[in-house]
C-alpha cells in the first residue's frame, strides 16, 4: 500500500461518506416503506449503491495493489448478485400472489 496523500485521503473520505449516506437512507427506507415490494426497492438498489461507494473509497485509499484488485472483484460480484437476488425475491412474491400496496387499500 502506497501512503495516501491529502488528495487521496479526501477523495476516499468523500466516497466513504457517500456510501454511508446511501446505506442509512436504505435502512430508513426499509423501515418506513409500506409493503414488501417498496421495501425491497431500497434493500436492492440503495444498498448496492452504498456498498459500491464504500468499496470504491477503500480502493482509492489502498492505491493500485492486489488488495484493491480483490476489492474490485468483490464490487463486480456485488453489482451482479445483489440485484439478481432482489429480482428473485420480487418475482417469487409476485408468483405467490402478493398484491402491491395501494393508497387507501387495506393493510398498513
Amino acid at each position: 500500500m502506497t501512503e495516501p496523500g491529502l488528495l487521496r485521503t479526501a477523495a476516499a473520505a468523500l466516497l466513504l461518506a457517500l456510501g454511508c449516506l446511501a446505506m442509512i437512507s436504505a435502512s430508513v427506507g426499509i423501515l418506513r416503506f409500506p409493503d414488501f415490494y417498496s421495501r425491497i426497492h431500497p434493500a436492492g438498489k440503495s444498498d448496492t449503491l452504498g456498498i459500491a461507494f464504500v468499496l470504491a473509497g477503500l480502493m482509492v485509499w489502498e492505491g493500485f495493489t492486489l488488495v484493491s484488485l480483490k476489492l474490485l472483484i468483490i464490487l463486480v460480484f456485488m453489482l451482479i448478485a445483489s440485484p439478481t437476488a432482489t429480482h428473485a425475491l420480487a418475482k417469487a412474491a409476485f408468483l405467490d400472489g402478493l398484491k402491491p400496496w395501494k393508497r387507501g387499500g387495506d393493510g398498513a
Partner: protein, 144 residues
C-alpha cells in the same frame, strides 16, 4: 421441487455465470486455510451453497435428487474418515492424536503443512456433504 419452478432467464444466466467462480473460491478457501482467512468449514459451506443455488434455480429431477443425496452422504462420511484417519495415523506412528510431526514425511515442517491440508480437506468435505444433505432432506421431494 421441480413442479413449482418457473423458468427465469435472469436468475439462470447469473447463476450459470457465478456458480463456477463460487466453486473455485470454495477450493481456494479450503487450500488457503492455514495461511489466511477461510478454512475447511467456510470452503465447504460455500461449495454446498453453490450446489444449493444450482438446485434452486435450475431444479432437480428425481434421478438427480437421488444422485445428489447419495453423493452428499458419501462426501460427509469421507470427510470424517479423512479427518479421523489422519489423526489415528499420527497415533499409530507414535504421536498424539493429530500430532502432525509423527506423519511419515522426512521434514517435520512438510509433515505439519500436509497434515493441516488433509484436515482442512476432510472438514470441507464433511461440511459440504452435511449441508447439502440437510438441504436435500428438508427441500427434496423424496420422503424416505
Amino acid at each position: 421441487m421441480k413442479a413449482r419452478r418457473a423458468d427465469n432467464p435472469v436468475t439462470e444466466t447469473v447463476s450459470a455465470l457465478l456458480i463456477p467462480f463460487m466453486q473455485i473460491y470454495a477450493l481456494y478457501l479450503i487450500a488457503h486455510g492455514d495461511l489466511g482467512p477461510g478454512g475447511g468449514f467456510q470452503g465447504g459451506a460455500v461449495f454446498a451453497a453453490s450446489l444449493v443455488l444450482r438446485a434452486i434455480v435450475f431444479g432437480l429431477d428425481a434421478d438427480e435428487e437421488r444422485r445428489y443425496e447419495r453423493l452428499a452422504g458419501a462426501c460427509a462420511s469421507a470427510g470424517v474418515l479423512l479427518y479421523g484417519g489422519i489423526g489415528l495415523l499420527c497415533m499409530l506412528r507414535g504421536g498424539a492424536f493429530l500430532d502432525y510431526k509423527a506423519l511419515p514425511f522426512a521434514d517435520p515442517k512438510t509433515a505439519y503443512h500436509l497434515g493441516v491440508y488433509g484436515i482442512e480437506l476432510g472438514v470441507g468435505l464433511a461440511v459440504a456433504g452435511a449441508l447439502l444433505l440437510l438441504f436435500m432432506k428438508t427441500a427434496g421431494s423424496r420422503d424416505d
